[in-house]
Amino acid sequence: MPDQLLFAMEVALNGLMAGVMYALVALGFVLIFKASGIFNYAQGVMALFAAMTVVGIQKGQVPFAHLINAIFGTHIHYFGWNVPALGAILLTVIVMGLFAWVVNKLVLKHLVNQEPIILFMATIGLAYFLEGVADLMWGADIKKLDVGLPQGINGYIDETTFNLFGYGFFIDNLDITASVIAAILVTALVLFSQYTKQGRALRAVADDHQAALSVGISLNFIWVLVWTIAGCVALVAGMMWGAKSGVQFSLSLIALKALPVLMLGGFTSIPGAIVGGLIIGVGEQLFEFAIGAPYLGGATQNWFAYVLALLFLVFRPQGLFGEKIIERV
């Protein structure tokens, strides 16, 4: 096989892996949008917050240490213990559940039946508030996330492809792990929403609030549940991105990367989020490889996804899998 083609294949493969990472973020948006029609701007910050919490708990950091020290004149920063990675993750799940409960209690409950734009504004407020809380709770320094996720080039793939084609593919172990975890996550979510009572209730709430109430579904319970699940998805996304590029505030900007994915896949479709993520991941890598780098001076990844999303807005506004908007007259 010619070298160029093999190289392109490797690029595409890496694009797929990057796409999985985008899809992970987009998934959190879809869940909340489906259940409550809210575009949750805070999803990216939730990922950051979750990742910071994992690191903080793992290292035995004292939450709100700066605040406590400033008020009481103490100098405590660490409890002096280390929590195993799995324990820290499970504790973070509980924290995300609590966060969901608080958001519902203090914000969403009071905004029932408001315009989508008002709810959207509320989530913007929430995003910056949570960012502040995360800062105050765990400190603003860049943290290294080390929960034992495999990293580095996968030697087996490198070797096998070298033996087959005479050209070794460089695939990062972390990307492979992310793909496997994403696959498990999506399967679990689909099973949950299609086959469980709570999943059915969730779809019901997504469709019609009044009708859901009339068959005995508690809206509050469903919203807390959905935000908790979205929090867990944010946790996974935050950990994957955090392991890749460190836990820092720019992590919250991955939310912006999820937007074109959502426009492609549709705001209401779980498979759509995955496929959309993959298309954008592969698309931007291949575009850079074939057109961007040789003819346009490179760095096309920064804008390619948005241009693609714009095209979709023009020709297929509901996305690939979104519900078709038909207005009967």
Binding site: A204, Q210, A212, S214, V215
Partner: protein
């Protein structure tokens, strides 16, 4: 009016039981507007109870009070001999009161089957994990619930549209599916908000038949609101008449028909 403390027998020979639900001096205000003014009436086991009245009389408000969507400022709701505390609509539903809506509230994106299945949500007790993985109790439970739902689908004669997304159905069928979802909950009390609004004659006849059969075969207590006087008089055992938020009549269809206040409200009265 007859003494009915121990129930009564209808002209067609059905035995009506004791009081199931009692509304005591209900007053409901929206700001300065009084939607319901000091109304009391009861609903008895096994009967078909109608609430009628001209537009804006407060009928739907009354139904919303019963189903917990509105909370009256004054008055008490008694259910099965106990005073009901202020309840959210989903709690009322879990107590065994199911309802339909005047302007149809279905889950448009789901199939007919799934829609009716949501009526069974409170009968599913197995854990999330069991359900997702189709383990243990979950499988038996799902089978039982499906059987019940199929029974209802047969009863309402909608087998042919079981898998159709509800959004694609015509109006009359949607109304029927909504009734199906309410029936699936096997409620003690079924509330129907204008079940025949916007229907043609044939659809109205079908719906009347279903309502009578639900009452007869399942022994279900029904409270309904309806505009069509003819239909109401044929269907119901007892009728409450409302006008401008006040109760102006209560009794059997015959009693109500000959009530002067009711005649005035419906036909108008000259104010000279």
């Amino acid at each position: 009016m007859k003494d009915m403390t121990e129930g009564y027998t209808t002209p067609d020979g059905r035995q009506i039981g004791g009081v199931m639900m009692e509304m005591k001096n209900i007053t409901l205000r929206f700001g300065g507007v009084v939607a319901i003014k000091d109304i009391s009436f009861d609903i008895r086991e096994g009967e078909i109870r109608a609430i009628i009245g001209p537009n804006g009389a407060g009928k739907s408000s009354m139904l919303n009070v019963i189903s917990g969507f509105y909370h009256p400022q004054e008055g008490e709701v008694w259910f099965h001999g106990k005073k009901r505390p202020t309840m959210r609509p989903y709690q009322v539903a879990r107590q065994g009161i199911a309802r339909t809506f005047q302007n149809i509230a279905l889950f448009e994106g789901m199939s007919v089957l799934d829609n009716i299945m949501t009526g069974r949500l409170n009968y599913m007790k197995s854990t999330i994990l069991d359900q997702a993985l189709w383990w243990g109790k979950a499988e038996r439970e799902e089978t039982e619930n499906r059987a019940k739902v199929e029974e209802i689908i047969d009863f309402l004669e909608i087998q042919s549209i079981r898998k159709t997304p509800v959004g694609r159905l015509p109006y009359g069928l949607k109304k029927r599916v909504e009734l199906g979802r309410a029936l699936a909950a096997q409620p003690k009390l079924l509330l129907l908000d204008e079940p025949m609004a916007g229907m043609n004659v044939e659809e109205k006849e079908d719906m009347s038949r279903f309502i009578l059969d639900v009452n007869d075969e399942f022994g279900m207590t029904i409270a309904l609101i309806e505009h069509d006087m003819g239909v109401v008089m044929d269907l119901s055992d007892r009728v409450v008449v409302m006008d401008y938020g006040k109760k102006i009549g209560d009794g059997t269809p015959d009693e109500v028909r000959s009530n002067q206040a009711v005649i005035d409200a419906y036909l108008g009265v000259s104010h000279d």
